[in-house]
């Protein structure tokens, strides 16, 4: 089963390496990883898409939590918004195909961000399956380059990932 996991981390050198290393070391299957700064200084947020059963997911969460710089981990099993951005460069052999390609892109609400004589770059946002479907729809025309960010996610409503109040440990 596919899970989107969000991880709030301290923005310290090597933190991404720690997370990537842990995932590889423990043999977890990871589909994508996206990382970026948050609105709070010193905090970054990572989205992981992991496949595996509940036991695997539980271990992913627990092992991530063992990392000192990981502040909070959550599996988005509750209602959430998930988006991915993709840049897709499609080959355009001739005028006829150009129109077809544009029609398909419109159906997916993909934006044209670059037009050349024999290629178009589309920008597309949506959940991962939408991105996947768009890429497959363009495949017959010739995919020149594809760049996907990997899924990012936020829980719906008031639920947020945040630093817990300090409490004395041990």
């Amino acid at each position: 089963m596919r899970h989107v996991v969000s991880v709030l981390v301290q923005d310290k050198p090597g933190v991404l390496q720690r997370i990537a290393g842990l995932i590889a070391r423990r043999g977890f299957n990871i589909e994508s990883l996206a990382v970026g700064r948050t609105h709070q200084e010193g905090l970054s947020r990572i989205s992981l898409v992991v496949t595996g059963d509940d036991r695997v997911l539980e271990q992913v969460e627990k092992q991530l939590n063992r990392l000192i710089e990981v502040i909070k981990v959550t599996d988005h099993s509750e209602p959430h918004v998930e988006r991915e951005l993709a840049l897709v460069k499609v080959a355009v052999p001739g005028m006829e195909e150009r129109l077809e390609i544009k029609d398909i892109a419109e159906a997916f609400r993909a934006r044209i961000v670059d037009v050349a004589r024999k290629s178009i770059i589309f920008e597309l946002t949506g959940d991962s399956s939408k991105v996947h479907n768009f890429i497959e729809a363009m495949r017959p025309y010739g995919l020149l380059e594809v760049m996907r960010t990997g899924a990012v996610a936020l829980s719906r409503g008031e639920q947020v990932l945040k630093v817990r109040e300090k409490k004395p440990a041990v």
């Binding site: 981390v9 301290q10 050198p13 090597g14 390496q17 720690r18 290393g21 070391r25 036991r55 539980e58 271990q59 627990k62 092992q63 939590n65 063992r66 990392l67 000192i68 710089e69 990981v70 502040i71 909070k72 630093v163 817990r164 300090k166 409490k167 440990a169 041990v170």
Partner: protein, 562 residues
């Protein structure tokens, strides 16, 4: 004051009075500062010896062990020892020098990506890039190493940071928003555990290395409830080996009683252990009759990792065991005890008397002669298993071996660390001829500080455990395990270092030799020429279960029939 002096001052603030280490180019400023520091430095002959000694120091004392090394090769020589400390949950802080920051990433002389390389073998690591961070980072390193599930922490300090002027305060606040180990177990879970135990007809208590600091509480709980107790290899000593409720260790070379008790148990209370594959064998066949496993561990990631747990209790073993002891009632399990006793009586650890010297009798003789009052270390292999089987550990922190990583060569440096942690106590290293040769350069450290360790080499001229597996599972094809043709004369080797060396091959002289070893005031090495094809039994083959246990040496049965 410079950064180097600040490092030592910060270590002093943490109560450090001993550092194991080896100097080199990039750590020289700190060695220079050591000249003026009250901290005692123990010069080892290889950084691996240093980290193992620091590990044993931590395990024997309950404090944090500290090791220091230079950049590149020095730091990389720590890797095995760090992983060893990680797998056996030991609080170690390693301080390493690194090339000046301006040279980092340029393939400078003796440069290595030490933080990158040690990331998977430490609980955490730091590189200090600003001299002002030294007091806080050292404090955080000790806090992380010693709290929660203990583990090794490495602090890498580029040379320019050691040399930079420092004028800050040592009163620092640690800032670790992502690190909050759970100390107190949930009261409701403890209640549920006690309820489950009260209903159990065939309960056992398993105790691991995570309970070494909880010995008194574990004993109190065990005695109040009357439950059979099975300490793991790492848990030996946390519950007395001579106690009536002690069944021996479980697992691959565990006792028949322990393995069958686990196999037949309906309820298992496991405190401070992680169900290593050497304990469980094939997990799907482990404890098939246990409907309730209660798992107490400070690391939530260990719970449910391998074995499904009905009642998880996340918390410190000492705290939880004390709570369990408070609520413990005498269990009515007379029938169960009858069964367990039958196994125990029928299949004790033992050996068949032979005309030649055997490892088992050597260990037994030392146990008898010391009355069990010793700190014992070992390398890894047959001699380690024999020691675990035949030396009855009555006190916690008295058995220091490499359980998780199985690091050959730890015996001697472990003995050094233990001797420095607890001066005045008898320290015995039961070593193998193979294991010993992996770190024998530390004889020089023994000599330098005149540490009165008793090194007992159970010399069978083979890599005995590998040979045993080849015997049982590889049609006796002894591929690359023969050492006797090229082993040194170990007694002479010791003498070359200025250490008393003895050789024993006549079993008639065992008692007097043991006495001579123990009565000698300084360090001694005793080379015991034991039978070369002895096997460790019982044995559950790798990936097997209790039902697959080989109780007696099949080779002996064959030989007797010849």
């Amino acid at each position: 004051m410079n950064g180097a002096a600040a490092i030592l001052k910060a270590l002093e603030k943490q109560g450090v009075n001993i550092i194991f280490g080896h100097p080199g180019g990039t750590i020289m400023p700190t060695y220079d500062a050591l000249y003026d520091s009250p901290i005692r430095h123990i010069l080892v002959r290889h950084e691996q010896g240093g980290v193992h000694a620091a590990t044993a120091y931590a395990r024997a004392s309950g404090k944090v062990g500290v090791v220091m090394a230079t950049s590149g090769p020095g730091a990389l020589n720590l890797v095995t020892g760090l992983q060893d400390a990680l797998m056996d949950s030991t609080a170690v802080v390693a301080i390493t020098g690194n090339v000046p920051q301006a040279l980092i990433g340029t393939d400078a002389f003796q440069e290595a990506d030490v933080c990158g390389i040690t990331q998977p073998v430490t609980k955490h690591n730091f590189q200090i890039r600003d001299v002002r961070d030294i007091p806080r980072v050292i404090a955080e390193a000790f806090y992380i190493a010693s709290t929660g599930r203990p583990g090794p922490v490495l602090v890498d300090v580029p040379k320019d940071v050691q040399l930079a002027p420092f004028s800050g305060s040592f009163d620092v606040e640690i800032d670790l928003p992502g690190y909050k180990p759970t100390f107190k177990g949930h009261p409701r879970q403890i209640e549920r555990a006690l309820e489950a135990l009260a209903k159990a007809k065939k309960p056992v208590l398993m105790v691991g290395g995570g309970a070494q600091h909880a010995s008194a509480e574990v004993i109190e709980f065990a005695e109040k409830s009357g439950i059979p107790v099975i300490p793991t290899l790492m848990g030996l000593g946390a519950f007395p080996g001579t106690h009536r409720q002690f069944l021996g260790m479980p697992g691959m070379h565990g006792s028949v009683a322990a393995n069958w008790a686990i196999h037949n148990a309906d309820t298992i209370l496991a405190i401070g252990l992680r169900f290593d594959d050497r304990v469980t064998g094939k997990v799907s066949r482990f404890a098939p009759n246990a409907h309730t496993i209660i798992h107490v561990d400070i690391d939530p990631a260990e719970i449910g990792k391998l074995v499904s747990t009905a009642i998880p209790v996340v918390g410190d073993a000492k705290w939880v065991a004390a709570e369990l002891a408070k609520g413990a009632r005498k269990l009515s399990i007379a029938e169960w005890w009858q069964q367990v006793d039958e196994w125990r009586t029928k299949h004790p650890f033992g050996w068949n008397s032979k005309p030649y010297l055997q490892s088992q009798e050597v260990i037994h003789a030392f146990w008898e002669a010391t009355g069990g009052k010793a700190i014992v270390t070992s390398g890894v292999g047959q001699h380690q298993m024999f020691t675990a089987q035949f030396f009855k550990f009555d006190k916690p922190r008295s058995w220091i071996n490499s359980g998780g990583l199985g690091t050959m060569g730890v015996g001697l440096p472990f003995a050094i660390g233990a001797a420095l942690a607890r001066p005045g106590e008898t320290v015995i290293d039961f070593d193998g001829d193979g294991s010993f040769q992996m770190t024998l350069q530390e004889l020089a450290t023994v000599k330098k500080y005149n540490l009165p360790v008793k090194i007992v080499i159970l010399n069978n001229g083979f890599l005995g455990m590998v040979r045993q597996w080849q015997d049982l599972f590889h049609a006796r094809r002894y591929s690359e395990v023969y050492l006797a043709d090229s082993n040194p004369d170990f007694a002479k080797l010791a003498e070359a270092y200025g250490i008393k060396g003895l050789t024993l091959s006549d079993r008639g002289k065992l008692a007097e030799t043991v006495k001579e070893v123990l009565e000698h005031e300084g360090p001694v090495l005793l080379d015991c020429r034991v039978h070369h094809e002895e096997g460790v039994f019982p044995m559950i083959p790798s990936g097997g279960a209790a039902e697959d246990m080989i109780i007696e040496n099949p080779r002996e049965a064959v030989e007797a029939g010849d």
